[in-house]
């Protein structure tokens, strides 16, 4: 197995394989955060009463 242009020994190969699994997991987390950040705003758009109440409560204080 090569890492870039570098030939690795067996132990290093094992680490690289594990690292790629970690990278996939972290990448999925990043995509979920992106979708969630837009999703919660969409939810607020479709629940205008809840949003209006929150704004009114904020302005009353």
């Amino acid at each position: 197995m090569k890492l870039g242009h570098q030939t690795l020994d067996a132990a290093q190969e094992q680490r690289v394989r594990r690292a790629r699994r970690t990278a996939r997991t972290v990448g999925i987390v990043a995509i979920v955060v992106f979708v969630f950040s837009i999703g919660q705003m969409l939810w607020l758009q479709h629940h205008p009463v809840a949003h209006a109440r929150a704004v009114a409560e904020a302005l009353m204080q």
């Binding site: 890492l3 870039g4 242009h5 570098q6 030939t7 690795l8 020994d9 132990a11 290093q12 680490r15 690289v16 594990r18 690292a19 790629r20 970690t22 990278a23 972290v26 990448g27 987390v29 990043a30 995509i31 955060v33 992106f34 950040s37 837009i38 705003m41 607020l44 758009q45 205008p48 949003h51 704004v55 409560e57 904020a58 302005l59 204080q61």
Partner: protein, 541 residues
Amino acid sequence: MAQAAAHDHHDEHHDEHHEHQNFFQRWVMSTNHKDIGTLYLVFSLLMFFIGGSFAMVIRAELFKPGMQLVQPYFFNEMTTMHALVMIFGAVMPAFVGLGNWMIPMMVGAPDMALPRMNNLSFWILPFAFALMLSTLFLPGGGPAGGWTMYPPLSLQSASTAYVVFAIHLMGISSIMGAINIIATILNMRAPGMDLLKMPVFVWSWLITAFLLIAVMPVLAGAVTMLLTDKYFNTHFFDAAGGGDPILFQHVFWFFGHPEVYIMILPAFGIISEIIPTFARKPIFGYKAMVFAIASIAFLSFIVWAHHMFAVGLPLGAEIFFMYATMLIAVPTGVKVFNWVATMWGGSMTFETPMLFAISFVILFSIGGFSGLMLALVPADFQYHDTYFVVAHFHYVLVTGAIFAIMAATYYWIPKWTGHMYSEFWGKVHFWNSVVWVNVLFFPQHFLGLAGMPRRIPDYNVAFANFNMISSIGGFLFGASQLIFLGVIIHCVWFSKKKATDRVWEGARGLEWTLSSPPPHHSFSIAPEIHDEELAHGHVED
């Protein structure tokens, strides 16, 4: 040392490969962490000078009251672009470059875990910035609503789509870089390099990478919604359509405050490497330093609304965010006291990296204290959107982040190039920088307290003197950075003085066991690590 020599020998045949590469293959197609690190650092330096030139325009216009040199819209473009270029183009890529160069060598890894993605992470950036900077030459002009891009002001710009796409590209680059760093640190450490034996710089980058994963997608989401509001008829932030512009501020600052720590935590790591080296003592309270970084990162998620005290938050929320913000002073204080305790009783010498590190500790603390003042809700109502805020974040980011990057450059450039830089010119650069940066930013505290608003091209004559002093400091600080450029060019191409492998007498850690410059490929076979080679090998329980 014997171990490192064996590695050098093993890696010789790998180095033959890179000698056969032409310029295009080596630099454009590179998958080597050291080359990509160099690319990041060169790009960052270029952006530092471009962003700096925008700052010169700003200070030239503010030299005297009245409109002098530029039109108001162009002035606003300069303030906006200066921030975007410095944050996303200079500071962040510099830290990624330093991380790329040093993290694999510090943990005994052969390279970053995903070398091709590493190449892509870098090469996205020049296109992103070309796109963003090109807006300055478009008929409608560039973004001028501030780097925070608050709607509805930011939506009035003709270049929204360009800037949003550029920010998406920068975000993708940062996220890929963060994934690579997390995967490398968690999986590719050499046997014996336990998590709590890693250099503090590696720890600081691991925590920063998690921050990036948590908040860069939020920024991407926020700017995507800006784009759909402008071009696809949504009303996320449009009050007329049932949306709420304040929501943008919440989403933006949920990204924006951790972003501040993304720009300072790696700096903490750098300072925690340099001070022990030149004090010739192990860092005081290693575990406390690591946990302090983690605490700061955690707190960064629950303080975002301190940027929004003036929008009319509920009183309960204002009190919560005020106290949460003040709480950050505790782990930050731990770090400052531990740096001082590391120096206490040490056999200190004052080479250029150490001078920058000490000035970091002092001047960053000033920025920290003015941050505490801004955390107080009643006081913030006076300081909000004044030059006091400008002074505060420039103390944190210039004498904090940028001084740390300069310290790191002086500290590691002999390792990278195999040559010593000119200590005399390094010190000339340091003393010029430290004097003029204070002349530049300290008077801005007084301007802010007296009520001068930020982001304006003209001002009341009452503010004239301090503005003139600040501008003189700005021009001379800017000119001082040409010395920095000269020292780097001299070190890379002209210096005759060879660096030893360890470079600094007090340096400890795996990276110093490699030759200077290190072989193109290092640690193809994982090194056997002995605690005495590590900076933090004997961590007390």
